[in-house]
């Protein structure tokens, strides 16, 4: 008989007694009407009988002892039951999962930082920024975005002492007038001293300082007090020079201005303590020009920043009170 899987399944289930009573009746009816189905049933039954008739093997006697020995050996070797292994495994898996999650979070944080660094917009500059003026081709220069800068007002007080008060006073008045700063000056003459409250641009102050530089030797002392970002705190620069004042004022931020002023204060104080000073004090005034101790200047181009000329923001951004007093 040609094999028919569906009939075979039915016949095998019949042989094994796995059919319902109704199905059994149906199979019996089929066999009664189809000799081939009955023949196939006998073939399958013979197969089953052959396998079922195989002798039953008995387990070797030593199985029980071997099992006991194996269990004892495992106990001696410290191998715990799988319950223990499973708990330990679960703990280990949990730790690994937590560590993997932590590593993922860390990685994501690092990636986010990197991406933010790359994609984040440039921070808006709230204060003035230093920048270098370069010669650029016209088109590039036109296309380049202009940096946004907010000039910071300089507030300071310059105290000058001189033995030639009258002459120095006259010189300063003339310099103020020559440089067109008379409008922004509020001079006040007090006993033995003149006070100039100057409100002008950096350029205007630079011109005045250039003039004052020519008579700087007439000052016995020059002290500049610079207001810092910390309210009420000042940096005092002793033995300051006109160039140093210009350099401090020309800084674009309060922080840079304070740093430069502090540097000058430190340098000037150090210079004052150099041995040359003591020698100078011992030598006659007339020979002063023979031995001169150069005022320290900042040499690093990074420490100071020149502002480009003609900046509109410069206007009226300097408030310097100049006090000229007579030496005792």
């Amino acid at each position: 008989m040609k094999e028919n899987p569906e009939i075979d399944e039915l016949l095998n289930s019949f042989i094994d007694g796995e059919l319902t009573a109704r199905q059994q009746t149906e199979v019996q009816r089929l066999m009664a009407h189809d000799a081939k189905i009955a023949q196939r049933l006998r073939q399958l039954q013979k197969c089953k009988m052959l396998v079922s008739s195989l002798p039953v093997a008995e387990a070797p006697d030593e199985i029980l002892e071997d099992v006991k020995a194996s269990l004892e050996k495992r106990t001696l070797l410290g191998e715990q039951g799988s319950d223990f292994d499973e708990r330990a495994g679960a703990r280990h898996l949990l730790v690994r999962k937590v560590m993997a999650a932590a590593a993922m979070i860390g990685l994501v944080a690092v990636l986010a930082t990197v991406v933010y660094t790359i994609l984040a917009p440039e921070p808006v500059l709230e204060g003035p920024v230093a920048f270098e003026v370069r010669e650029l081709p016209g088109e590039i220069e036109a296309a380049r975005p202009k940096p946004r800068m907010v000039a910071v007002e300089f507030n300071g007080r310059l105290e000058l002492k001189t033995s030639a008060l009258v002459a120095v006073d006259a010189f300063i008045n003339r310099a103020i007038e020559d440089n067109g700063l008379s409008v922004s000056i509020s001079p006040a003459r007090q006993q033995d001293k003149s006070v100039y409250s100057l409100r002008c641009s950096q350029d205007g102050l630079n011109l005045l300082l250039a003039d004052l530089g020519s008579i700087w030797e007439k000052f016995d002392s020059a002290t500049l007090s610079v207001e810092t970002e910390a309210f009420g705190r000042q940096v005092v620069v002793n033995a300051v020079t006109a160039e140093q004042i210009a350099e401090i004022v020309n800084q674009d931020s309060l922080q840079r201005r304070t740093e430069v002023a502090r540097d000058f204060a430190l340098l000037n104080d150090t210079a004052e303590r150099l041995p040359g000073r003591e020698i100078l004090a011992a030598i006659d005034d007339g020979s002063r020009h023979l031995i001169t101790i150069p005022k320290p200047v900042l040499t690093s181009s990074q420490r100071t920043t020149k502002k480009p000329a003609g900046r509109a923001e410069d206007k009226q951004k300097v408030h310097l009170v100049i006090v000229v007093a007579g030496s005792e």
Binding site: M49, A59, I63, V67, R74, S82
Partner: protein
Amino acid sequence: MTEAANMDAYASNRRINIDEVVLVKQCRQGDSAAMERLILRYQNRIYNVILKICADPDDAAELTQETFVKIIENINKFEGRSGFYTWAFRIAVNLTLNYCRRNVKLGFRSLDAEQVQYNSQAKQLLRQFLSDDSSLEPAVVAQNREMCEIAVEALMKLDDAQRAVVVLRDIEGMGYARIAEVLDIKLGTVRSRLSRARSRLRQILEAIL
């Protein structure tokens, strides 16, 4: 439902000898005498099934031992949802089928094993037994060593999954539902796999004879 309740329900619903449930409980409490009784109760049946699937007495003994070690070690995991008997046979059959797969991969056992030359009288007798109109009793087969060897050889030419179903049904006498539980397959799969296995066995035997 608690494990104990599961086991009680199992014992009552399936009418399994209450002794077995008690033995399992005692075994879980570390009673070595109960453990021995469990082993003695099942060792022959498990060994016989394993031997009929793997066909090597030494390997069968080792696999039986391994089966009982696993049973004892994992007895606390046995929740009583299926019978202890089913659970134990599941462990045994899984270990044996893994062993068979491993050996086939390593080339230790070939399905096209060398053809053994059987005595023509045994062949004749077997051919007669298988013929449609024969009324030869199966006991005759069981008493003839060579006929048994032919039958085992044919059995070993089935694939592992088919052989396992045939052994569990025709040698261990399990019902289809229990075979499905032991092998963790569907009832319909048991039905179709067993049918194909018997058809194939018939073909193999005819080829041998």
